[in-house]
Symmetry: C2
Subunit: 254 residues, 2 copies
């Protein structure tokens, strides 16, 4: 069973949504993270119609199933989860915060269970009657100043968290780091340029032969700190070659 197929065990259930933009945003987030099963309970009909007929409405929206009650919408499900970002009163349900909730949901869809995730209406969230159909409640941790989340954003955050290990998480291979022989060529050429430009004075015979930190060591350390890729080391070598050439030309014209 591919992870992709398993994501289809999750039913996103929007309860009494009123804003077509939110319905569309929920469907878009589903597509972003590989979920396809959308159910809508008792939607504001104009909003649902507008979302479905919008330009570029996805196949998720056109295939969305409509129900008149939460009971009917979750009848075939083996785990039902309510979502809430606010908690004004003592919770009547066991609460799981998002990170842990996503782990539990992933386990159940991996076991091929049908899981429903309920999102309440924009204004009031899920009622206690609607929540009574849930096994537990998922809460997105938010700050007290603004605990209530936008519906489309709440759906996106939950689905991103549930899908987090089904999509690549590590960065693509960066350009290979430069080898030390290139770094040393760069160090030499930079020192030449610094001398040619007069930034470094020619070694004075009267001075100590062993200063604390001779210029070539300082420049060598600088070049290593840059953590250059092979490509960038080549780029810098070319830049310095051109600068040295220009200084030579100008010197020969004097």
């Amino acid at each position: 069973v591919s992870p992709r197929f398993q994501l289809d065990r999750l039913q996103v259930v929007l309860v009494a949504p009123r804003n077509p933009l939110n319905i569309g945003a929920a469907a878009r987030a589903m597509a972003n993270f590989g979920f396809h099963r959308l159910r809508v309970v008792n939607p504001y009909q104009l909003a649902f119609h507008e979302a479905r007929s919008a330009v570029g409405a996805s196949s998720i929206l056109t295939a969305a199933e409509e129900f008149s009650t939460v009971r009917q919408a979750v009848a075939d499900c083996q785990l039902v989860i309510g979502t809430a970002s606010v908690c004004r009163r003592e919770p009547l349900h066991p609460v799981q915060y998002l990170a842990n909730a996503a782990l539990l949901i992933r386990k159940r869809i991996a076991a091929d269970n049908t899981v429903a995730m309920l999102f309440g209406s924009e204004k009031r969230g899920l009622s206690n009657a609607e929540l009574s159909h849930c096994h537990w409640v998922l809460r997105i941790p938010t700050f007290d100043d603004q605990p209530s989340m936008n519906l489309g954003q709440a759906v996106a955050i939950c689905l991103h968290e549930i899908a987090r290990n089904t999509l690549p998480a590590s960065a693509p291979q960066k350009s290979a780091p430069a080898v030390c022989s290139d770094l040393e060529r760069l160090t030499r050429r930079l020192l030449e340029t610094l001398s040619a430009s007069g930034y470094l004075k020619p070694h004075k015979p009267g001075k100590s032969k062993h200063p604390k930190s001779p210029p070539d060591e300082k420049i060598r350390r600088l070049v290593r700190r840059l953590q250059l890729s092979a490509a960038d080391a080549k780029l810098l070598l070319g830049i310095l070659r051109q600068i040295l050439w220009k200084i030579d030309v100008l010197n020969s014209h004097q």
Copy 2:
């Protein structure tokens, strides 16, 4: 330094946003996850004005700073990150996926560095010229069918990920589990009810005294599988007491 204060080291920078709802949604997500510093570069003026004057517009929006170029908006920042959920071409920048990117950003704001996070316009995202001001690019992993994310949702997912350890992540203490003496009282009372209701037949002398699984053991195991809280065990004890009383009353009337 409190984690709350550190979150203020992050500047959310919206580049050329065109939709007032998206600007408002970005500001709301910032409030949800404890961020306060919003910068807007070259916004579509009507949209910015509408977002700021919307009913319930937050202090984040009214305090938002406006710039005409990305260069000016990030001038005081020590780390600049571009965001992209799509990559149609070979990336010109080092790429970090969200989970790892959030770790890197948390380290920098914990070190009191000023960090800017750039989000591009709804239509085109960030241009290569805008991205050239960035140290690296953050990518939200999405499915190829619908790789491009809604602006407000992208902001919400990124900020949730960066804030994830500054807010509670473990569930509040559930009701304490029932003690075994209560579970045993419940087992006894359930057995009595099953006998009184005729679900369990009285023990027949002819049958084996040691059936494979005597009814009381079966019921005891059932009661343990329910993983009851102390409160729920009490609730069930009360329910069974009432049922037993009712059966007794009805029997005495026969």
